[in-house]
Symmetry: C2
Subunit: 240 residues, 2 copies
């Protein structure tokens, strides 16, 4: 059976202006691969209502799971929750259980649960909360969209909260062989090998380091025995 | 006049599997911001013909410029050039000027211009070559799509080749104020400030470091005088 599919949506002006280098997509990609969910696509959009709604609608129809990061804080540019509600035509308001989480947290820390912070308790109708062990303000899942914070430590803790609840498939296995020849030398035999193993993904990634150049060949698939066999042939093709 | 718009398309299984962390999108974002081209969206797709063609068609219709990275090397998984040709319904074949570049390069380095390497001279009909000062094999521009390599050093050199030829707009300027208060404390006044300056983008980016937490407030826009004025008000609102 094929693995479940997923897409990621990274939300935030700071990513597209080059101010911040996103790390959440790379983190999620590694976690999904281990869990047996195939990340098929990632998109990055700015804090723009129409852009976010359009991306959520398209991706949630095309894949089994959508993971979003960013835009669920207390400030005026945090519009993700409203966009998710709009994409699924749901109402959104402060929800009692989310408000209670925040109230307890701010009482503990001696801060005021003011109007801005209360924005973080606004949850679309019908959503399930995602636990935030770092800073309490929850994420949420609505339909097949998992909405999480953009701060990497919080994003990663939310992924750890949600991922065990999702049905995974066969983890994607991989083995790598480093070959000290350029891609142009090895491409022919590699092409033949790829034809021989249609169920495996054989990728070639050139590198240049300290004046030398070569290729990392990565063989990926869900059948470890087949990967072993292909790796043996690969090593025979390119003995060091 | 509004700035030209752009999207980026990052192509490669290795990005979506989590093996490689993309750096090209972050690099391009910074360069475009300096050049006055607004990066509106980025997408990452795997080495899949249908996915690449669909993304190119959609993005090239929606934005002024599309920049792609990845998939133009000599191996079997390098399918970007064919996908671009397909997206614009063009034929593709080895082109004389691209072949001549490669032939001269491999003669210099004492390597053979074999069939695999010749793949890198396959250019869609009607495209313009993009110079590659690092490893010679060219990128190309077809319609409004600029097709570049995935290896960061080569990608960056190709961006440096192509960007001066594109008409830019007003560079996006930005100033940042670090405030040692959480977003929840400052969100109210910040919202009022954002309403007062509708032409500026005022973003709030929380941080947590060494147990302390606070917010970086970034004010972006093309009018430096207006940014100065807003920064002065911001500093008055939150004196240290």
């Amino acid at each position: 059976m094929a693995n479940p599919t997923a897409a990621m949506l990274v939300i935030g002006d700071e990513i597209l202006s080059g101010r911040t280098r996103d790390s959440n997509m790379h983190y999620l990609a590694g976690e999904l691969t281990k869990h047996g969910i195939d990340l098929k696509e990632a998109r990055m959009v700015s804090d723009d209502h129409a852009a976010i709604v359009a991306a959520v609608k398209h991706l949630s129809a095309a894949y089994d799971h959508i993971f979003t990061s960013g835009g669920i804080g207390p400030t005026h540019d945090d519009i993700t929750a409203d966009c998710i509600a709009a994409a699924f035509d749901r109402s959104i308001d402060v929800r009692d259980d989310a408000r209670a989480l925040l109230a307890a947290h701010y009482e503990r820390t001696g801060s005021e649960l003011n109007q801005a912070r209360l924005r973080m308790a606004r949850i679309p109708d019908g959503a399930t909360l995602i636990e935030n062990p770092v800073s309490v303000a929850p994420g949420f899942t609505l339909e097949n969209v998992h909405v999480m914070a953009g701060v990497p430590s919080i994003f990663e803790s939310m992924v750890a909260s949600i991922l065990p609840t999702l049905t995974g498939g066969a983890p994607l296995l991989s083995q790598t062989l480093r070959i000290n020849q350029g891609e142009g030398e090895i491409a022919g035999p590699l092409f033949e090998l790829a034809k021989e193993y249609p169920d495996l993904m054989i990728g070639s990634y050139p590198f240049q380091k300290d004046g030398a150049h070569g290729s990392n060949i990565v063989i990926r698939g869900t059948d470890g025995t087949q990967i072993d066999a292909a790796m043996t042939k690969l090593s025979d093709l390119f003995p060091e």
